[in-house]
């Protein structure tokens, strides 16, 4: 439908829009095309956007909310941080105060009943890779769990596979792993030689048996900031870390790098809670998140990957290698099976805790 123009180019639609709306963000307009969200007038309307706070939400404000406000006149109020139980309580109580919320793919899979269907008469998701479109949500960023390592600790021979990460002879010392069944069971199975396409349904017993082999060589983390620090300080040589978190410390000069081999992709969705007071504005807002320029802006700010293929034209050269959806990175990994985790998360989390106690 919409076509991308080379960086810096203007097509008809962009030109029209620029002339109509002189105050529009120049940064966002300098690349690519305008999405459908520009066409509606929502001045005087407002909506509340809730996400995970910090630099992430700030980037979303820059990349999605501000362009939306500039194009439609609707005010976007920032709120958060997103919290699963809070959101659930709000919706169950029939009084959600959030109109658009950023949730993970597993949360969406496990709580579909909490959210409105997207109105595809308003939302135009056609520019997106359809793997990242849900009946109730638009994939706003794609992130991944990667094999990360401290180059000062591991030296020349950095780990290249999860089997390496689990190899305590080759990599003595501790490794930092996530203290959750998700995605540690996938990781353990890959370390045991299972190919990504054969992972599901997970062979849970085999995964725990593999985890048994390294249980005393691990620092388990739940906080991503704590994990970053473990890698930066060289407390661990290797382990698992989010690609965006690795990008963050690497850009700050830490000797921390990653490989895309066997990466595990996940999606954050933007969704509309059932009963949201400004659901209609929220539906229009979705178009701002589909927009290629906005997605590119997001990627350039925080290295979280776009799911609109057209956005790559606007992504800076230096950021491309860090993105989970850059084709050569994507083909080395796979998308986690959110449906599998929806059905099994509760049971496997219990088993995970039980395993940790033994």
């Amino acid at each position: 439908m919409t076509k991308t123009t080379p960086k810096g180019g203007l097509n008809r639609r962009t030109f029209l829009k620029t002339s109509l709306c002189a105050s529009a963000s120049l940064a966002a307009l300098s690349i690519g095309t305008r999405g459908a969200f520009a066409a509606v007038d929502l001045s005087g309307r407002e909506m509340v956007f809730a996400s995970w706070g910090g630099s992430y939400q700030a980037a979303q404000e820059t990349a999605y909310c501000n362009p939306f406000t500039k194009a439609t006149g609707a005010t976007v109020i920032q709120d958060g941080p997103m919290n699963g139980s809070k959101l659930r309580t709000m919706v169950e109580g029939g009084q959600p105060i959030w109109d658009v919320v950023d949730v993970t793919d597993t949360f969406l899979a496990a709580n579909e009943e909490l959210f409105e269907d997207l109105d595809f008469n308003i939302v135009d998701a056609s520019p997106l890779d359809q793997a990242y479109v849900h009946a109730k949500g638009i994939g706003c960023i794609i992130w991944s769990y990667n094999i990360a390592f401290n180059t000062d600790v591991v030296g020349e021979n950095a780990p290249q596979s999860w089997a390496d990460v689990f190899d305590v002879e080759k990599f003595p010392g501790k490794r930092a792993l996530r203290d959750r069944a998700y995605p540690m069971l996938e990781i353990a199975l890959m370390a045991d030689g299972v190919a990504p396409e054969d992972l599901y349904p997970l062979d849970v017993d085999r995964a725990f048996a593999k985890l048994d082999t390294i249980k005393d060589h691990v620092i388990w983390y739940t906080s991503n900031s704590a994990a970053q620090q473990l890698f930066v300080d060289g407390e661990v040589g290797t382990g698992v870390l989010l690609n965006g978190r690795t990008f963050d410390v690497n850009k700050k000069g830490a000797p921390v790098d990653l490989t895309w081999n066997q990466n595990i992709r996940s999606i954050d969705y933007l969704v509309i809670p059932k009963g949201a007071p400004n659901a209609e504005v929220a539906q229009h807002f979705m178009n701002a998140t589909v927009d290629a320029d906005n997605q590119a802006l997001m990627a350039n700010t925080l290295a979280y990957a776009p799911c609109n293929p057209a956005a790559f034209a606007g992504v800076e050269e230096s950021v491309l290698p860090w993105l989970a959806t850059t084709p050569e990175n994507a083909e080395k990994g796979f998308l986690i099976d959110a449906e599998y985790w929806r059905d099994n998360l509760a049971a496997l989390t219990e088993r995970w805790t039980e395993w940790k106690l033994t």
Partner: protein, 274 residues
Amino acid sequence: MFLKNRNIWLLAPAVLLIGICFLFPVSWLLQRSVSEPVWGLQNYITIFSKTIYLGVLWNTVAIAGVTTLLCALIGFPVAYSMAHSSPWIRKVLIFSVLIPFWTSILVRSFAWLVILQRGGILNDFLAGIGLIAEPLDLVYNRFGVLLGMVQVLLPFMVFPLFSVITRIDGSYFSAATNLGATPIRAFFRVYLPLCLPGLATGAMLVFIISLGYFITPALLGGRGDIMIAQLIFERIDEFGDWPLASALAIVLLVGTGLLFVLVNALIKIRGRGI
């Protein structure tokens, strides 16, 4: 006596606060724990039949118990010194005991990481003076959790003890030694029983607060150092499983209450014995 009749209304704000902020939510929790998914005790049966919940409950009690013991062992000499030193030294001691209160629990926990981790200050120092060849594992295990908790909870032990010790008449101890008791015997037979009310109050405070600890075990602990508050949070935050989380909270509350009653009874019995 005075309060009993005419000025009972002085309690109104406190009663109101406890009623609204404690009794109401607790009865709500209690109700959810027995009414969902259907009426019955299924959530409690789950807790008492699965190794995970029993294991974590045991962990919680064990960590809280050892924390209390360590606080008593470390806190007693501190409280004693505070009670028997010049006003100036006393001020310095009070200040040092209170310092941990003034920092956020997150900052404090991360600070412990900087000190205790394998490449941390302490290990570097010990390796530097040649005392150790390999860095010691001082954190991401039970030791780290206990250290972090004792540091934070020490004031709850020290201050009740301090207030009791300052009121103990030193002549009892002198009398015991004059009558032929060795100082050690005099301490255990005379001095320590006199400190018991302070020790009991301190121990109860430390133990009960420890039971609800959450961030410290999550950040400084290792694989098995899971406490009940972490499980309650996980049930609610990740699964929206209010009924089971409520049941866990009620088990914790009732367990703590029983313990309180038990300790109170024990002190009364001991009190009569002296």
